[in-house]
């Protein structure tokens, strides 16, 4: 887990505390705010859980790749959208789970290793991803066809990058936290993906079994949010003591439309 980095300028601390809803309000005299305690690795806690879907979702839309002969031949099996990745007992995959409040004014170094989104067989891999502000997003084209990756954020700058040659890599860095940033390929209209851009490392994406684990949290009270591209967003309050390992499950209902 990245080590905490404390802001050095009092003014920035004051502004950050005000913006993030820090525990203690700014004093009228403008005195320096108490900094959040550094995270003690010996006391960190863990949140685990499972996300399930209540109800029978509609079948994922079939994808017709006739628009590009390469895509057609690259996929030997019928392709569908990844809207609902649901297990036999309703386990819901591709849910982005993250701490949405409670970290105060802590700041975290972004990893230098990039998160990779691969355009392979005319699909995005992964479909849902998470990365930190300042962490490189490496966009890779593994296909022998052209792709454009078009990000449609609301807090970051929109970008649309063409990758006409197999093996091309392009790095992009987001400058603001944002959940979630949609991606699409305008060449292949069926390609879509989502990224959660975070200011901290406490997030996870559910796998096929619907489970998630968020480790390394300092003791405290948090809001835990789960996001699904169709089922929406749910939030839970959770308080962690030192070395806690708490479970918090989410159950989404199939939207009516």
């Amino acid at each position: 887990m990245p080590s905490p980095r404390l802001l050095s300028l009092p003014l920035m601390l004051t502004l950050a505390a005000a913006a993030c809803g820090g525990n203690k309000p700014a004093t009228p005299s403008g005195q320096e705010q108490p900094k959040a305690a550094p995270i003690d690795p010996a006391t960190v806690a863990t949140i685990k859980g499972k996300v399930t879907l209540d109800g029978t979702p509609p079948a994922n839309a079939a994808i017709k790749m006739n628009a590009d002969p390469y895509c057609l031949t690259a996929n030997k099996t019928p392709q569908t959208q990844e809207t609902y990745m649901v297990g036999k007992s309703g386990e819901l995959g591709n849910v982005f789970v993250y701490i949405s409040d409670g970290l105060g004014d802590r700041t975290f170094d972004a990893p230098k290793d990039p998160v990779v989104i691969d355009q392979q067989n005319c699909r995005y891999h992964p479909h849902v991803m998470g990365l930190m502000v300042g962490q490189p997003l490496q966009i890779l084209n593994s296909d022998s066809t052209l792709h454009n990756i078009h990000a449609l954020p609301t807090k970051n700058a929109e970008f649309n990058t063409g990758q006409p040659i197999k093996g091309m890599k392009t790095d992009h860095v987001f400058t603001a936290a944002e959940q979630m940033v949609p991606f699409k390929c305008d060449v292949h209209g069926w390609m879509n993906a989502y990224a959660g851009v975070m200011s901290h490392p406490f997030f996870a994406i559910t796998g096929d079994d619907g489970t998630f684990t968020i480790k390394g949290l300092p003791p405290g009270t948090y809001k835990l949010t789960a996001w699904h591209e169709k089922a929406g967003t749910q939030t839970a309050d959770i308080t962690l003591a030192a070395k806690d390992e708490k479970e918090n499950n989410f159950t989404f209902k199939v939207p009516s439309s």
Partner: protein, 324 residues
């Protein structure tokens, strides 16, 4: 005659260009080629054909057709400048050239800035103006325009006013439609002919408002076309040059309203959506032709006062001896 045929060819090419542009928007392919004026780094004209896949088919074809129309327009402007004796017709040629250049720049700007509604709408609106210019050039270089009928030109101030107003209304309606289209409000009202089961939306959002304005606009345009065509039918039924565009206008606007309904019922089928765009352009062009013909008697005086000898060979003009 050759110049008229060429101008007609340019106008017909513009119809194809508008179809291609309509397909780009209808298929959501506007950003499938992310760079401009290059295409994925290639020059527009050296972009490999094997790479024409998915949305690129629509976007790159649109660029190629637009470039071709641009070249055709340069040739038309030069031809008019060298062979056309009427200054204002030569001016139309240069106006068309300026419009097509600006149109290309707007197309590039809208790609580079991720299709902002204002720029995309301006691109759609200027496309119609350019189309009108090519249609006007084709019309005023036609033998029918230059040869006065045996019973003279129609001089009907009421028809001139209603036809002018109708053309302006059609253009305004196209702008509203383009705004709706480029702000993704085409299905903001999901039912047709009713509006959320009634006549007025029960709630208002920008999308619903622009969509509703387009529907109300359709009724206003229908009233305008009915008035103009009714005037032609009641007063000038024996005038073929007016009766034909008036009848065509009524037919086109009815088809256009049906297409508008079909867009809702089919949830924006690509072919129907595009047909709606091009039919709108044809309604505008037909209304313009009717309007210009209603003003023909005025043009006769203007032409006579500005007539001059052609700068170069223009045998078809020389032989006819006509300068009007």
């Amino acid at each position: 005659m050759l110049l008229h045929r060429y101008a007609t060819f340019v106008a017909a090419s513009t119809v194809l260009l508008i179809v291609a542009g309509g397909l780009v928007t209808s298929t959501g392919s506007g950003l499938s080629v992310p760079d401009w004026p290059t295409s994925y780094g290639w020059s527009m004209f050296t972009f490999p054909l094997k790479n024409m896949v998915g949305g690129i088919v629509y976007e790159h074809s649109h660029r190629l057709i637009a470039s071709s129309v641009g070249v055709f327009t340069i040739a038309l402007a030069v031809w008019l400048w060298r062979a056309e004796p009427r200054r204002w017709v030569r001016g139309l040629g240069f106006a068309a050239l300026g419009a097509v250049v600006l149109q290309g720049v707007l197309g590039g700007v809208t790609v580079l800035f991720f299709l902002p509604t204002a720029v995309s709408t301006a691109h759609a609106g200027l496309a119609q103006i350019f189309f009108c210019l090519t249609v006007a050039i084709a019309l005023v270089t036609s033998p029918g325009w230059r040869s006065a009928p045996a019973n003279g030109w129609v001089d009907d101030p009421v028809l001139r006013r209603t036809a002018t107003a109708t053309t302006a209304l059609v253009y305004a309606q196209i702008l509203v439609g383009a705004t709706m289209r480029h702000s993704d409000a085409g299905l903001a009202i999901p039912d047709f002919p009713l509006v959320f089961g009634g006549l007025v939306p029960p709630q208002w959002t920008p999308g619903i408002a622009i969509h509703y304005a387009h529907r109300i606009g359709a009724l206003i345009v229908l009233a305008g076309i009915s008035t103009t065509s009714g005037r032609v039918w009641s007063r000038h039924r024996n005038r073929t040059e007016l009766r034909r565009p008036a009848g065509l206008l009524v037919a086109l606007v009815l088809v256009q309203i049906l297409l508008g309904g079909l867009i809702i019922w089919t949830r924006k089928d690509v072919a129907i959506n595009t047909a709606h765009v091009i039919t709108g352009a044809l309604v505008l062009a037909t209304s313009l032709v009717l309007t210009l013909r209603s003003y023909r008697t005025r043009f006769g005086d203007a032409v006579a006062s500005t007539a001059r000898a052609p700068r170069t060979l223009a045998p078809e003009l020389d032989r006819s001896g006509a300068r009007a």
